[in-house]
């Protein structure tokens, strides 16, 4: 059987892999992308569709900013509309408990070029009249918004393919070995692919591949709990998300111009990477219906028409794995985006292509390196940041 060869092999065709393939082609690198199913079917295709920067781990904002810049240029860049709408995003809290945290975050985010405006009281009611009486404050990010996750990753893949990337769907990677300067990737049907650089962008399936290079990670697969209403007149243009210390309160929703309201949150469901299935738990659905009415009482009159889930990968510190391998030269990672990778996708693709092409990136990704897990064995590095984590955790797409 003929061995396919390229400058770079990407394992995984989610938004990370597809975008990286696209940007590598822009840099003139030849690319093979291997996807076990179809492009963008799991976390990338089933998530909420948030294109949101606020609420993120602050050192992630430069990456999120780079990504937002690409989202805004996307139709020109890839020649397809993936329904990105910079509609604005509000992060709200119930009562007064977390108002201080919203303020602190807004203050700190300014240094990263993210301008947030805090609304409370009459001013908040006037600006966002749909919010329920328990909502205490809203942090408004005017440039954030939402896009259609079902379209984004496949659109990047098609654009990459039009520019010469070789994309192999329904191709299950079995083993990866390094022989000399080259990675040899064998698929379950016996096909062999060869390249001097390799990117593992395999989401919840990445841990098995990391293990092959003796870089184990504690990855947990979980499923987002999503739902959508019937279409109603377009009125709720701002994306809304709740920040809370209680999982069951962390809901988010957005309305799309055709009228449906898409929502998610309030906990996660079971996911089975081997079966390629993830489920929505009925009790989560019921909690969502309850919480959404609290968040926006007018939603009480609507009907839920469908729920869905997908397979997401979570890391113990709620941060992704991104950057070069600490052990194997030419090997790179971009996975484990912990339910908040969709917005980052285009930026990650751009950064990973830059990194693979030039060996460096202008965007800081230090906190996301896989080497942090080796270090963490001896020292709990992030415990010092506990105060910050309070603000940063519980963010989802």
């Amino acid at each position: 059987m003929k061995t396919e060869q390229a400058d770079v092999i990407i394992v995984g065709g989610g938004i990370m892999g597809s975008a990286t393939a696209f940007f590598l082609r822009q840099r003139g690198r030849s690319v093979i992308l291997l996807e076990r199913g179809l492009l963008g079917q799991q976390a990338s295709g089933t998530n909420f569709g948030n294109v949101r920067r606020q609420g993120r781990f602050l050192p992630q904002l430069p990456l999120a900013n780079r990504s937002l810049d690409i989202w805004r240029r996307l139709p020109q860049l890839i020649g397809e509309d993936v329904e990105f709408l910079p509609s604005g995003h509000i992060r709200v809290c119930y009562g007064q408990e977390r108002v201080g945290l919203l303020e602190e975050y807004a203050q700190a985010a300014r240094a990263y070029g993210l301008d947030l405006e805090l609304f409370a009281g009459e001013r908040m009611r006037a600006r966002f009249p749909f919010l329920g009486p328990e909502v205490g404050a809203a942090s408004y990010s005017p440039l954030d918004g939402h896009a259609n996750p079902r379209l984004a990753a496949p659109a990047f893949g098609r654009a990459a393919a039009r520019n010469g990337a070789q994309i192999f769907e329904n191709t299950e990677v079995e083993t990866i070995t390094k022989q000399g300067d080259d990675f040899l990737v064998s698929a379950s049907d016996g096909r062999i692919f060869k390249a001097p650089a390799l990117l593992v962008a395999a989401g919840a399936w990445a841990d098995k591949l990391c293990l092959q290079f003796d870089e184990p990670v504690d990855l947990v697969a979980r499923g987002p709990q999503m739902g959508v209403t019937e279409p109603v007149p377009y009125g709720l243009k701002t994306v809304v998300g709740v920040t809370s210390a209680r999982d069951e309160e962390i809901l988010y929703f957005r309305q799309i111009p055709r009228g449906n309201i898409i929502f998610g949150g309030g906990g996660r469901g079971p996911a089975y990477p081997d079966l390629r299935r993830a489920y929505v738990m009925p009790q989560n659905t019921l909690n969502q219906l309850r919480q959404l009415q609290r968040l926006a009482p007018a939603l009480a009159n609507l009907n839920l028409i469908r729920v869905w889930s997908g397979i997401e990968s979570y890391m113990p510190d709620d941060l992704p794995v991104m950057g070069p391998s600490a052990r194997v030269s030419g090997l790179h990672y971009a996975f484990g985006f912990c339910g908040h990778g969709f917005q980052l996708g285009p930026g990650v693709g751009d950064v990973m292509a830059e990194l693979i092409d030039t060996g460096r990136t202008t965007t800081p990704i230090e906190p996301f390196l896989i080497s942090r897990f080796a270090k963490q064995k001896s020292e709990r590095t992030r415990s010092a940041q506990a105060g910050l984590d309070q603000i940063l955790l519980n963010v989802e797409e």
Binding site: L38, E230, P282, R290, N303, L304, I305, R306, W308
Partner: protein, 458 residues
């Protein structure tokens, strides 16, 4: 061993006979029914204050309908009957319910899904106009509310229900403009040997045809429907079709009742994670069971038209068989002779089923020739052209992929109305066998769920 907790979904022929069998064995099943009263679709009972006699409501099936209703009435004290209750999800051994705006759930050891069937629909240009009904809906209007769906109704499609509903409308005094069957007389003739498996039913069918002709209603075979002519203001105005001889005819009407035999309601089986297989004969994906109704999931049994379309008599047998299978699995003694007799009857039902599919085939080729501007998915207003675009330009040749890209099957009905036709459009556009297109995965809720429901403690 503690008595197993038995939940039956559906109170049509399969559900009622299934419940009866459990009661005979000393168990008290819970029967979940979406309907206001038992009887299912075929033996739907009229509202309490309606007084039409059985003969008027069910014609030749009056005796069977009455027998089923009496049987269930007799079970009243022995079962936990929950009418007007939607089973909206199944997860981890519990079935989730909604009734009167209240949500609750029930744990089960034995779950028998007797979910029945609905009309199988083939889109037609203009079928979004008000006045277009499925045959089943037209029949519900008549049976349940004594209403006709229009002043002048065209009956279009194929299958036994086409003739049954048309003749019921004629009998009720409604004006039937025409009965148009897409299958040819030759196809029907060729199926006769198989249809002879149930001679009495064949005879009933032929008498329906005769009744339609006697009433002077135009009845044509081998037609090709072209378009429902109408507008958003006035709704349906006429139906345009091509006759078997090639001539194009417009028949004036204000309602069209259409359907191409039936499709199994399989969402709950899917949510229960039962395995499915493609049935070439009917060109639909069906949940797999053994002869007696055991699904691939332990504790979950399937019976009636929700598994394969054997009709009401076959469903009664299947309901009994599924109960017997579950009882046997729970250590009850089941009479072999009883099982054998039911299984034997089901073989004849299966032969007849194949005969019906041969006589009244699903007009798959119509999907291929559907004009680009015709709407396939009415919930989301997606045209055949848009669906073909995602197949041809975006490579979406799998049903769920095409849904993700085009939204076909993404709306309120979740593809229950357009899923089969959508798959045919995809198969034709991609030039691949229909089985390769796959099937739309069911997602909860089975029917839309109101946000403002009240949760009961379970």
């Amino acid at each position: 061993m503690a008595q197993p907790r038995v939940v039956i979904v559906g109170a049509g022929p399969a559900g009622v006979r299934c419940a009866e069998q459990f009661v005979k064995a000393g168990l008290r099943p819970t029967v979940i029914d979406e309907g206001r009263r038992d009887g299912g679709q075929i033996y739907r009972r009229q509202p309490e204050n309606f007084k039409r006699p059985y003969s008027a409501l069910y014609g030749s099936e009056a005796e069977r309908a009455e027998s089923l209703h009496r049987s269930f009435d007799a079970l009243h004290a022995a079962v936990d009957y929950r009418p007007e209750t939607l089973a909206w999800n199944i997860s981890e051994g519990r079935i989730h319910l909604l009734s009167g705006g209240r949500a609750s759930s029930l744990a089960y050891d034995i779950l028998v899904l007797c979910t029945g069937a609905t009309d199988r629909l083939m889109p037609l240009k203009g079928w979004q106009f008000a006045g277009t009904y499925s045959l089943g809906a037209a029949q519900v209007a008549l049976k349940s509310q004594a209403c006709s769906v229009g002043r002048e109704v065209v009956f279009l499609g194929s299958g036994p229900l086409l003739y049954l509903v048309a003749s019921q409308y004629i009998k009720a005094g409604a004006k039937v403009a025409a009965v148009l069957d897409t299958s040819s007389f030759k196809q029907q003739l060729s199926a006769l040997p198989k249809l002879m498996a149930r001679p009495s039913l064949l005879k009933k069918g032929m008498s329906l045809v005769a009744a339609i002709r006697r009433a002077g209603v135009p009845l044509e075979n081998g037609v090709t429907p072209l378009e429902i002519i109408g507008d958003p203001e006035r709704g349906v105005q006429a139906l345009s079709y091509r006759q078997a001889n090639g001539e194009i005819v417009n028949v004036s009407c204000d309602a069209v009742a259409m359907g191409y035999h039936l499709r199994a309601e399989t969402q709950l089986a899917d949510l229960a994670r039962c395995e499915f297989a493609f049935d070439q004969t009917s060109r639909q994906w069906l949940p797999q069971t053994d002869t007696d109704g055991r699904s691939s999931v332990p504790g979950v049994y399937l019976a009636g038209d929700g598994v394969r379309i054997l009709g009401a008599d076959g469903a009664e047998n299947a309901g009994r068989l599924a109960a017997l299978a579950a009882l046997a699995d729970y250590g009850h003694t089941v009479m072999d002779a009883e099982l054998a007799a039911l299984r034997k009857q089901q073989l004849a039902m299966e032969r007849f089923r194949r005969g019906l599919l041969q006589a009244f085939p699903w007009p798959a080729q119509q999907a291929a020739s559907l004009p680009d501007e015709a709407i396939v998915c009415r919930c989301e207003c997606i045209t055949a052209g848009e669906l073909r675009r995602v197949v041809c330009d975006m490579g979406a040749i799998e049903a769920n992929r095409a849904k993700a890209f085009s939204r076909v099957g993404m709306g309120r009905c979740q593809g229950r109305y357009c899923g089969h036709a959508g798959a045919e459009v995809i198969a034709a556009a991609a030039a691949i066998p229909i089985a390769e297109v796959g099937r739309l995965r069911a997602q909860a809720p089975v029917k839309p769920l109101p946000f403002n429901l009240v949760e009961d403690a379970s």
